[in-house]
Amino acid sequence: MTDGLAEQVASLKAAAHGYAARIEPIDRLVWPDGRRIAVNLTVDFDAMLLRRLNNEPPMQLAKGEFGGRVGIWRLLEVFQSHAIKATIFTPGRICELYPKALKAAVLDGHELADHMWEHRVPHEPELERDHLLKAIAALERISGRRPVGSRSHHTRQLLRDEGFLYNSHGAPCHGPYYVLDAKGRAVLLELPFHFAIDDAMFFSFAWYASGNAEQRLSDPDRVCDMWWAGFQEQYRQGGYLNICLHPFVSGRALRIVMLDRLIKRMKSLPGVWFATCEQVARHCLDHYPARRGVRQSAGSPAE
C-alpha cells in the first residue's frame, strides 16, 4: 500500500530544495543615503503587440493601441511632474511602432530596458539569441546605449553574456535577489515584481482570454488603497516595491489621477527613493555582490 510513497516524499523535497538552492536573497539591504525604501515604477510598454501575438481580435489590438497613442505620453507627464525616473520595458518591435514616445522617454531621463523582441522568447536557442540581439539593437537606436535590464523569460546566462545586469521577473521574495546556476554560481540579479501590484490584473478585462466571471475589473479607489497598503508595509520593513504599469491600462485618464495620488502619498513620507531599475541594480551589485560569481556593475554600462 505504501510502496513508492517514500520516493514521492523524496522527489517533492528534491524539487523544493532544488529551487531554493537557486535563490540567494540579499540580506540586510540598506539603500543609499539612509533611505528606507526603493520604489521602481516600471512600465511594460507592449501596446498591441502581445494582443497581436496571441491572435486576439481587432478591438483587443485597438485597446492596446491606446497605450501607444495616448497612455505612454500621460505616464511620461506624471513622472515628469514628480521628477521621477522610471524604467520602461519595451519589446524591440515597439521601437518601430512608437519611436517618438520612446525618444521622449529617453530625453526625460528614463531607462529603456528589454521586454523581448516581440514579447515572446523562442524555444530555439539560435532564434532566441537572434531575437535578443534585435531587441538590443532596436533599443540602442532609440536611447544611444545598450539596455542593461530585461523583463523576460530569456535564458539568464544569455542575458548575462549580452551584458545585462538584471532581470525583473518573478517574486520568490520581496527584495532583490540573485539567481544561481546548477553549480551554485550567481548568474543574474533579479528585481522582483508581483501581480498584486500590476495594473493589468485589476483593469485589463480578458487578460490572456480570461473569462468574464474572472473579471479583471476594479476601480481606482480600491486599487489605490491596496497598493498604498502594500507600500506602507514595505516602507515599515525598509524594503523594495516594484509597481508595474501598462500604458494601455494606467494611461486611461481616471488611472493617471490614481497614480498621481499614489505618488503624492508615497512622497509625503521621508526616505523614499524613486529610482530606475538600473540604479537599484547597480547599488545591489556594487554593495551586495553575490557570494559566488556575477560581475560587479562598476565600469561602463555596456561592459
Binding site: 505620453w73 518601430e96 473579471q215 476594479s218
Partner: protein, 312 residues
C-alpha cells in the same frame, strides 16, 4: 507594407488635451450610449433571450425608468438598437426619437460578424439599415458593434471588412472603438487615407460588466465599482477637456439599486459647468468638421519591416 497594417488602426499619437475643441467653447463632451440588445452570446439575439424575464424587464420597466431618468436630468443619449429589436418594438423607437435621443444601429440581431463572408456581412448590414430607416423614418448615421456580456473579449466584434462596409454604406461614425478616449479615425486604406470616424468605448464604463446578475454562475454585483469608475473618469476627462462616455443597458442599470447610483451620477454631472451632452451623430458632425481626416490624420510611411523568424 505600411507600418500600421495588422497592428494599428490609427496614427501614432492622439490629439493633445489643448488641441481638443468642443462647440461654443464647451469644456468636455458627454456621450451616453444605451444598448437595447438583449443578446446573451455571440450568436446574437435568440428566441430564448427574448422569452424571459430579463428581456421583458428591459423592454418595459427598465426602459421606462431609464427614459424617465434621462428626461428628468435633461440628458440625451444614442440608442444602439439591433434591427430585430426595432422591428419588435417600433413604438419604443418612435418614443425615444420623440424624446430627442438618436437611433443608431447595433447589428442585425447583434451577432458576431467576424467570421462572415463579405457579401453575407454586407447583406445583413444593408438589411439592418433598411429596417431601421423604415421603422424610424430616418436613415441611421451611427453603427455600433458593442460587446455582449458573455463575449470572450469586451471590445465588440467586427470583421476585417466591417469598417470598409460602413464607409461604403454611408455611415457617419462607428460607435465603439478602444484606441483613444476622444473621437479618432479608423484607417481602412493606408494608401488612400480612407478612414472611418470612431467614437470611444471602454468596458470599464459599461454597466453590463459590473452588473452580472442574473447571469447564472457568475454572481457578481460590482455596481459600486462602476459608479466610482464613471465619476473618476468624468472628473479626469473634464479636467483635461476631452470626452466622457458611458454604456447603459436597461436590463442592467434599470434595476433598483443601480438606478439610484445612476441618478447620483447624473446629479454629479449636472454640477460640472460647460459640459456638452450630445448624441453620436452630433459629435461626429462636429468632429469631421473640426478635424477632417485628410488634415487631422498624421499617417507616416513604413518604418515597419518584416524579419525572418518574427511576426509580420
Amino acid at each position: 507594407m505600411p507600418w500600421k497594417e495588422r497592428y494599428t488602426i490609427s496614427d501614432e499619437t492622439s490629439l493633445g488635451d489643448r488641441d481638443v475643441r468642443w462647440p461654443d467653447g464647451r469644456r468636455c463632451a458627454v456621450h451616453i450610449v444605451v444598448d437595447l440588445s438583449i443578446a446573451g452570446g455571440m450568436e446574437g439575439i435568440r428566441e430564448s433571450d427574448l422569452a424571459g424575464s430579463v428581456a421583458h424587464f428591459a423592454a418595459n420597466e427598465g426602459l421606462d425608468r431609464l427614459l424617465a431618468v434621462l428626461a428628468k436630468h435633461g440628458l440625451r443619449a444614442t440608442f444602439a438598437v439591433p434591427a430585430v429589436i426595432a422591428d419588435l418594438y417600433p413604438r419604443r423607437v418612435a418614443q425615444l426619437i420623440a424624446c430627442g435621443h438618436e437611433l443608431a444601429a447595433n447589428g442585425f440581431r447583434h451577432e458576431d460578424v467576424s467570421a462572415l463572408r463579405r457579401d453575407e456581412e454586407k447583406a445583413r448590414l444593408d438589411l439592418t439599415t433598411k429596417m431601421l430607416t423604415e421603422i424610424s423614418g430616418r436613415r441611421p448615421t451611427g453603427w455600433f458593434s458593442l460587446p455582449r456580456q458573455a463575449d470572450p473579449f469586451a471590445g465588440g466584434t467586427i470583421s476585417a471588412n466591417t469598417m470598409e462596409l460602413l464607409i461604403e454604406a454611408g455611415y457617419g461614425y462607428m460607435g465603439n472603438g478602444l484606441a483613444d478616449d476622444i473621437p479618432h479615425y479608423w484607417v481602412t486604406d493606408f494608401a488612400r487615407r480612407r478612414a472611418m470616424l470612431t467614437l470611444p468605448y471602454y468596458y470599464h464604463f459599461d454597466d453590463q460588466f459590473f452588473c452580472m446578475f442574473p447571469q447564472q454562475g457568475t454572481g457578481l454585483e460590482n455596481s459600486d465599482m462602476l459608479f466610482r469608475n464613471w465619476r473618476a473618469e468624468l472628473e479626469a476627462q473634464y479636467g483635461r477637456g476631452r470626452f466622457f462616455t458611458m454604456t447603459l443597458h436597461p436590463q442592467h442599470i434599470g434595476w433598483c439599486n443601480r438606478m439610484a447610483g445612476l441618478e447620483d451620477f447624473f446629479s454629479h454631472l449636472a454640477r460640472l459647468p460647460d459640459l456638452w451632452n450630445a448624441t453620436g451623430a452630433e459629435i461626429a458632425r462636429h468632429w469631421t468638421h473640426t478635424y477632417p481626416a485628410h488634415s487631422a490624420l498624421k499617417l507616416e510611411d513604413s518604418i515597419w519591416k518584416d524579419y525572418p523568424g518574427s511576426l509580420s
